[in-house]
């Protein structure tokens, strides 16, 4: 039996790494990938909690399923916008998109 702490620790580290990526990276696509890491961490959390703490209602599982779906949709949408900006600017660096003050 694996204690729940292990999963939670994994998720916490994953989230922190993702957050680091968001702050440190400049490429829009890399930031997007870092966000995906954070969302994956969330899913692990939800599933772990559901399996260990809430086996009757297991809402967490359903939550995780929705998170996966929505995260995927977010990638699609964000990439669409990246493409538009790229076409207008020929760059996918967030800092280069600077006609607005960052």
């Amino acid at each position: 039996m694996i204690p729940i702490e292990n999963f939670l620790l994994l998720s916490a580290l994953l989230f922190a790494i993702g957050f680091y990526g968001v702050l440190a990276r400049r490429s829009a696509i890399l930031i997007l990938m870092s966000v995906e890491l954070m969302l994956a961490a969330v899913s692990i959390n939800f599933i772990a909690f559901a399996a260990y703490m809430d086996p009757e209602a297991f809402t967490g599982l359903i939550f995780a399923l929705f998170v996966i779906a929505i995260a995927a949709a977010e990638v699609g949408l964000a990439l669409g916008i990246v493409l538009r900006v790229f076409r207008e600017r020929r760059s996918s660096m967030v800092d280069d998109a600077s006609s607005l003050k960052w």
Partner: protein, 480 residues
């Protein structure tokens, strides 16, 4: 398990009309009709939803474990439906000139309203989250819809990336709350947290902080406001108006549900967080607004400042402060929409959005100058207008809740806000117009819409009793 889907009639109407708008758009070119037909379709849909919401006033019924339709929900439903009606009405001329996909534009407005309503109606975390994302996704797309303006895509990019981060934060917080409370249902969570009251575990606290942080982002509270000025500036103007209205109000609706429900037992733990946010938001928002030259950025920072005031009511959370907040929100929405309608009319005519460009508007279009002046004065809380009465009661509620210092600060900030609003007023009245000084006319719909909003603004400012009572009933549903 059967659900009463009749409860969701307004949302189904919105959805149906959203699809209809897209369908009409598809066949539009074959029949050679302009985008007016889209606006009309969307407008009819929004009005129908508004009617259905009004017809359901007084209903208090639960939709399974996930939604509740009570006075609070109805209040926001009506608010959102009315807002979307106004936004559709104000955007027709603009859409023709500056929007890439009119059909999509209108259907997004309708669909996002569904998300906003569900945010107010959710009684369970999962539904609340999905509702947030429906609203946010619509806005990500809508912000990027402006034609030929490269700022639009950039704004959309920043918004979607930062929005994703905020969602992740919010979700992580929700997962911790779920882990600590063992359920996603507001009621069950409330019981679970009631046991922890006063000695909440570190897990709960971290979750709480992250949830508040994530929602603070959606409400654009400092320091989670970075996206706001950019999104406001880059977005097409009607969407800027919509961002400042519905997206904010919906976030507050959700916050109210959460804070008065599941998180209420932890009030001592989140109160100081919100107080800090409130102070930072009103100070930063209003001070940074002083340096803006672009009307959209000015309104962005001013709306940030307003969020600071609204957060104050959450800090002093009570039945009274909630009703004051709901009243203030309604007044703020009306005022903001009036200002934006006028600014859009100005933009349609001149294509300009710097504050300096408003120079001499009192000569060239005195009526519009009056509307903008009244709106800005109302935002800063000047008398005879909505802003005065609603701010008065809001600040009073905070003071009565034991936060006299906070409302004192709010009044100071409110006064500072007057200074930057005056910069706009000054341009319009004190100086002669530069360049083309001939008078011009608004479109008839522009006249009607601004006039209606102006009148409502004055009515709310002077005879706010009925609206206040409605808000009070809505607030009562939370604190029953």
């Amino acid at each position: 398990m059967t659900h009463n889907y009749g409860l969701l009639a307004p949302e189904f109407i919105l959805f149906g009309f959203a699809m209809l708008v897209v369908a009409v758009d598809t066949f539009r070119s074959q029949f050679k009709v302009g985008s007016a037909v889209l606006a009309a379709t969307a407008g009819v849909g929004a009005l129908a939803a508004l009617g259905a919401s009004v017809a359901m006033a007084g209903v208090h019924e639960e939709f399974g474990e996930i939604l509740v339709v009570d006075e609070f929900t109805t209040f926001f439903r009506i608010l959102f439906a009315a807002t979307v009606v106004v936004v559709i009405a104000m955007s027709h001329e603009f859409v023709g000139k500056h929007i890439r996909h009119p059909g999509e534009f209108y259907s997004l407005l309708l669909l996002s309203t569904i998300g906003a309503t569900f945010m107010a109606a959710a009684r369970e975390l999962l539904t609340a989250y999905i509702a947030i994302e429906v609203l946010s996704f619509s806005l990500y797309v809508a912000v990027s819809l402006a034609k030929t303006d490269p700022r639009s895509g950039e704004a959309g990019l920043k918004y979607v990336l930062l929005g994703g981060v905020a969602s992740a934060m919010l979700l992580y917080g929700l997962s911790l709350l779920y882990g600590s409370g063992g359920s996603t249902s507001y009621e069950v969570l409330r019981e679970a947290f009631a046991e922890q009251a006063g000695e909440a575990s570190a897990l709960t606290l971290v979750g709480l902080a992250m949830v508040i942080g994530g929602l603070a982002f959606k409400a654009s509270a400092v320091p989670f406001h970075m996206w706001t000025p950019d999104a406001y500036e880059g977005a097409p103007l009607p969407i800027t108006a919509y961002l400042s209205a519905t997206s904010k109000a919906a976030t507050f609706a959700l916050l109210l549900r959460l804070l008065s429900g599941p998180l209420e037992p932890l009030i001592e733990d989140w109160r100081w967080m919100l107080a800090t946010l409130s102070v930072a938001t009103m100070v930063v928002g209003n001070l940074v607004a002083l340096q803006q030259h672009n009307i959209k950025r000015l309104l962005a920072y001013s709306s940030i400042g307003q969020v600071g005031f609204m957060l104050m009511a959450l800090v002093a959370l009570s039945d009274q402060s909630t009703s004051a907040l709901l009243l203030h929100l309604s007044g703020y929405l009306i005022t903001n929409l009036a200002v934006f309608t006028a600014v859009i009319a100005f933009y349609n005519r001149t294509g300009r959005e710097e504050i300096e460009d408003f120079r001499g508007l009192a000569e060239t279009q005195p009526y519009l100058a009056v509307v903008i002046t009244a709106g800005l004065f109302s935002l800063s809380g000047m008398p005879l207008l909505a802003g005065f009465a609603t701010k008065f009661l809001l600040f009073q509620a905070a003071a009565s809740g034991g936060y006299l210092w906070l409302s004192g600060l709010a009044v100071v900030m409110s006064t500072i806000s007057l200074y930057y609003y005056l910069q706009v007023v000054k341009q319009m009245y004190f100086f002669e117009p530069s360049g083309d000084a001939s008078r011009w006319r608004l479109t008839p719909s522009g006249y009607v819409l601004t006039a209606v909003l102006l009148v409502v603004m004055v009515i709310v400012g002077l005879y706010f009793g009925p609206l206040y009572e409605v808000a009070d009933t809505a607030a009562g549903a939370l604190f029953a």
